[in-house]
Amino acid sequence: MGEELKVIVFALANEEYGIEVDKVRTIERMTPITRVPKTPAFIKGVINLRGVVVPVLDLRGRFGLSESEPTDNSRIIIVAVNDLEVGFIVDSANDVIDIDTDSIDSPPEVIGGIKAKYLRGVAKLGENRLLIMLNLAEVLNKNEIIQLEQLED
């Protein structure tokens, strides 16, 4: 048995992702977002989180998925990593579960390359449910974003 890990489960384009609960500050409903010019497209802007200005990313955009219009289920997950406080827009967030760290496998090789860095592993939940665990520090790593942009150019 490995250690128990509490994770927040959220959905993004039919897939389920997990973030350790201790990295999550709050989960908010969609609020008006102020656009910040001259930033990568996936940075949606900033919101007022109880008096603090917090930047918000669209995780779909960050992961290179097609962006969609927010729905009633859309949530902003506010995470804090290495004293960075950032919000993630996700399709929905409605579950907290315990997983065993042993059940997390390293990400499949296929994904490979730079993009895989922000994936910590895949956790199997029951028979047909897979949970993609994120490496938050890498999700927020700006150097990697710059590399990605250079690749696209």
Binding site: R35, V36, P37, K38, G45, I47, N48, P55, L140
Partner: protein, 692 residues
Amino acid sequence: MDMNAYLSMFIDESNDHLQSLNENLLRLESEPEDLSIVQVIFRSAHTLKGMSATMGFEDLASLTHEMENVLDLVRNNKLKMDSFIFDTLFKGLDALESMVQDIVGGGTGKADVSPIVTSLQSIVKGDYKTTVPAAGASTHAKDSNVSRDANENMALDEFQISVLKHSMESGHNVYHIQVAVKEDCVLKAARAYMVFDILERNGEVIKSDPSVQELEQEKFDRFFSVYYISQLPEQTLKEQIESVSEIESASVTILDQESMSLLSRPSTAEATAVSAADSSAPSEPAAAESGSTGRTANAKPAAQTSAGAPTRTIRVDIERLDTLMNLFSELLIDRVRLEQLSSEIRRSDLTETVEHMTRVSGDLQNIVLKLRMVPVDSVFNRFPRMVRDLAKSLDKKVDLVISGAETELDRTVIDEIGDPLVHLLRNSIDHGVESIDERIAAGKKDTGTVNLRAFHSGNHVFIEIEDDGKGINRDKVLSIAIKNEVISAEQANSLSDEEVYMLLFAPGFSTADKISDISGRGVGLDVVKSKITSLGGHVSVTSTLGKGTKFSIQLPLTLSIIWAMLIKLGSEKYAIPLSSIVETAIIKREQVRHIHGNRMIEFRNAIIPILSLSRILESPDFDEEQETDTEIVVIRKGDKWAAVMVDEFIGQSEIVLKPLGKYLTNIEAVSGATILGDGQVALIIDPNALIK
């Protein structure tokens, strides 16, 4: 001049410095080899000295100066710390503490510290090791002197214990008198005054509990007690006091040596500190013992300080203010929502209530927003006196010209900026401004001018200190830097003037030919730099040889309230700091000229560039090309102007600057964000970035 305005600041700061001196000295005692601790102690002592001298507490300043001399030797490896030095320094600290206590209690902070000074001087001379017993004897011999000195200054409470002891030795009676006022007494303060009047006629009151001030303000219950020296017999004294009407009883106890020593122990920690400070205590072992108890009791006087400080200001953790501010922003959002709801529901009593709440929360908003902001004047206003005294002691004539004192700065910055500014001003006056003869020889006015300016620019506050003195001598700076091994001779040739000037801020650098008590120990400028860097700002120097030197401090507006013009670009709102707006206007499309590929307009007889904010900010739903009339905001950076085209003016508003967070850094043309009344975030335009 009224010193009260900054007395509480002085007390707060000296307590902080004493606390840090105590802590670091204790740390040093356990790690005597760590010279970095000596540096910290030295800086604290140096600052404390400067502050005390500024406030006119000469005894405090001179004692600190002696302690500093010792520390200077230690710092330069010329002296090894040993237990005697530690003990003496601790005694010195205790004496400083009790002087500050005296100032807190409304006293003058004067004290006879000659025994400690003698010990400190003997340490500097290096002869203390051979003369320790002799010094003990000589202080013994001076006992009568000290006691006479102390007797002349009975009001001093640092010497209460020793005064009482010496009085006993010289045959006076020492009494502890407890007076009870009648329960139905109306004018308690007056009665207490009458008792004191009687006592003063026949002897001296050494200490009263509660203090005389408190008695005068009737801040006591029914009892007060005094320590009193007199020749009168016990019974006469009792009768005299009880003859005052409405005095219920007076119990008079005569004190002897034994009860004295008992009393001095459980009495206040201050008394312990006093006995520790008093190295002239009759018996040597007792002196040693009180030295150590004085140290263990260090925490106590500090705790007392916080309780006893003047209550006109309180210090609040900035984090609490932040929380308050954030909670208030929340409230604001709900208020706007409520207003909207009540206008929909149209019930008069609801509307009235909401309107009242709006007014109250408006006032509350003003207070909350201003809580953290303090005009820089609260730091500046103690400088004129300091400059005057300094100029006098250096025999120079100096005018201090202050401008921009109303510039508001975040409280955190204000708290920290005082010391660096003191150092820089002292530096300018000591090293910058020449003596009267030199000035006349150089063909200048005999009075030097030091300009102290503060102003907002973009999202920074600048504080400049400019003198019209002799300027910085590049060669002299370089030769000293090489001598002090700050840089090598090879490096020296390749440095630009600015880089050479920055050497002044290197640790251990000083161009003073001799050590004065003003500056020139090589602390100061490096403290200035590290302090300002820790505030996220930076300092620069420009100088012209023979004309003068300018130190410029740039500080970030981490959190501050500024006036801004709110504007609209389509659906988006932005704020432009009012400080960089020259004016607003409406122009016609055809007024825009194309000059060499750049768009310009004629404005007040000048040709200035015109910029499209919607292009710079990549506005999704506004393009001024569609309009025939365009609103423009004319902004400036220094003496350069530019016009910025916007969609619509919303109005002026006081806004709170908020950082965009660490994730979003260096966003072009945006200096921060603010939260508008409706809870929405608006970005703040950085006009400095728009003008190239």
